[in-house]
Amino acid sequence: MLQTFFEQTGHPELVILSAQWTLDIDWLLYFTRKDRIVFVPQQSKCTASMIEILEGLKAAFWLVITFDAELWEISLRSLRVTLTALLIASAIAIPLGTYLAVQRFRFRRFVISLINALMGLPPVVVGLVVYILLSRTGPFGVLDLLFTPTAMIIAQVIIITPVIASIAHQSMRELWAEYHDLLISLNTSKRQRILTLIWDGRRNLLTAALAGFGRAIGEVGAIMIVGGNIDHVTRVLTTAIALETGKGDFALALGLGFVLIGLAILVNLAIHTLSQTEREGRW
């Protein structure tokens, strides 16, 4: 229809341009003027979505200032699950990343590219595999961990360990190039070298850990499958957002989303303050 419209206006060169707009044509009023097309967003739809977002901000505001008990509960659970996963993942990934920077061995290159590739692990697949392993018919079924916060922690550790290890390795490699001669000439043991690098590179490692935190706190695919989004047990901010979207309550869903973003910013600020980075005279 659009195509004939342009042909009739005597601007066949516009036909190709129009093709990429046909999908959005419901949203746009268009008109031609001599040799160009102007696309104008339809007023009503534009304002409707603005109102929706404002409603979300309002919902977030009220939830926070009234100390909504349920919000408090699921926010604390989000933090508890993610921070525990972060601690475990960091304990594995930081020494691993540093070790890969310091040590040369046969399959080093392969291990590094494997870890880099695993950064893109699809959370849904991780969730499904953890689900199958923890299911009562699965190999770890006797532990009865499925649909508990522990299962969510396990899934998140698997997702964020490669992220932290990869970023840690990257920065440790640069630091190692700098420290290499000194540490070798001091005749340090391998263990001492790794510990020195970790201590002196702690600011960079913090960045690696925060990247892992960011990936974990906003994750929904895996924890939905292994946690089951059970009220008062495994419901966290992201699964609650998915639930409210399903109920069509966009304002509340958006409100929870803003709370989640606020929480992530608070945690980042808190960690920076605690570790005293970004202060004058420090690096």
């Binding site: 604390l76 933090l79 508890r80 921070l83 299911s135 009562r136 018919t137 079924g141 009865d144 499925l146 649909f147 089951g228 989004n229 059970i230 009220d231 008062h232 047990v233 639930l243 979207t245 399903g246 109920k247 069509g248 309550d249 966009f250 605690l274």
Partner: protein
């Protein structure tokens, strides 16, 4: 600093509640009806039992029961339920309540289904008009009911063109999708009434006996493994078929409209 930090960690880990717990897999349509929010506190009050709801489609709910990952299921697809019991995954099937499916569509009703003679006739009109139709497509009870009505109308849904949108999502998501596209969709009445984002959609057709929607409760066979709490599942069944549940289910209404009819038979 360290002390306050460890206090924070402890606070984050603190858990409460010593009541007994059981897991019940329910359909998305049951959960989005809002009835769970009425029943669960009453169960907690009467039985001191924390029922943990896993909200999934009927197909997945039965899979969870099959693996013994839940203690009971509450679903709505008779044929699948009977197969579940016959295969030895559940001990028995107990009917609890019913409501009905309704056809939702754009208020302008482009396919003209409002005065259809039957549900099958309504779907035939949608097919003729090639109006957008959103299907759950997730093997849920509602999806199975929809496919049954398509079959009655003489169509095989898997052969449809792009006007038939299979979204593979829960009831609420499917309604959201339909609202965004002004499409037709089959929903259970309770989810529709409780749905907040109705946009330009309206209830267009209901009342055909083919749209009858029976919910049944199936305890998972305790032989599955030692962690399945069949004792709690039986306690919950007795409560769900008892007078308090009957009053709550029959009394549950949204905007003055009753959503479910209790029809459990005494044993």
């Amino acid at each position: 600093m360290i002390r306050s930090f460890s206090a924070l960690i402890l606070a984050l880990w603190a858990t409460g509640s010593t009541a007994e717990e059981m897991r019940l897999a329910v359909t998305t349509s049951f959960d989005s009806s809002g009835l769970a929010d009425v029943l669960l506190p009453a169960i907690k009050e009467d039985l001191d039992l924390d029922v943990q709801l896993l909200v999934v489609g009927t197909g997945q709910a039965l899979r969870l029961g099959e693996a013994g990952d839940v203690d009971a299921v509450l679903v709505h697809s008779k044929a699948a339920e009977e197969a579940f019991v016959a295969a030895g995954h559940g001990t028995h099937r107990r009917e609890i309540m019913y409501n009905d499916f309704v056809l939702i569509g754009p208020a302008t009703d482009t396919a003209g289904i409002a005065d259809a003679a039957s549900a099958a006739d309504a779907l035939q009109r949608i097919e003729t008009a090639q109006s957008l139709f959103v299907s759950r497509g997730d093997d849920s009870g509602t999806h199975k009911a929809e496919l049954t009505v398509w079959a009655q109308a003489g169509f095989d849904a898997s052969t449809f063109d792009s006007w038939y949108r299979s979204v593979g999502a829960g009831m609420g998501q499917a309604l959201n999708t339909a609202a965004a596209m002004d499409a037709y969709v089959l929903s259970d009445r309770a989810s529709w009434l409780n749905f907040a984002n109705k946009a330009e959609l309206a209830l267009l057709y209901s009342g055909d006996p083919a749209l009858f929607n029976q919910y049944a409760y199936l305890p998972v066979a305790p032989a599955k493994n030692e962690n399945v709490r069949n004792d709690l599942a039986m306690v919950l069944e007795a409560w769900l078929t008892g007078p308090r549940a009957e009053a709550l289910i029959n009394g549950y209404a949204i905007n003055g409209e009753t959503l479910f009819v209790f029809n459990a038979q005494p044993k």
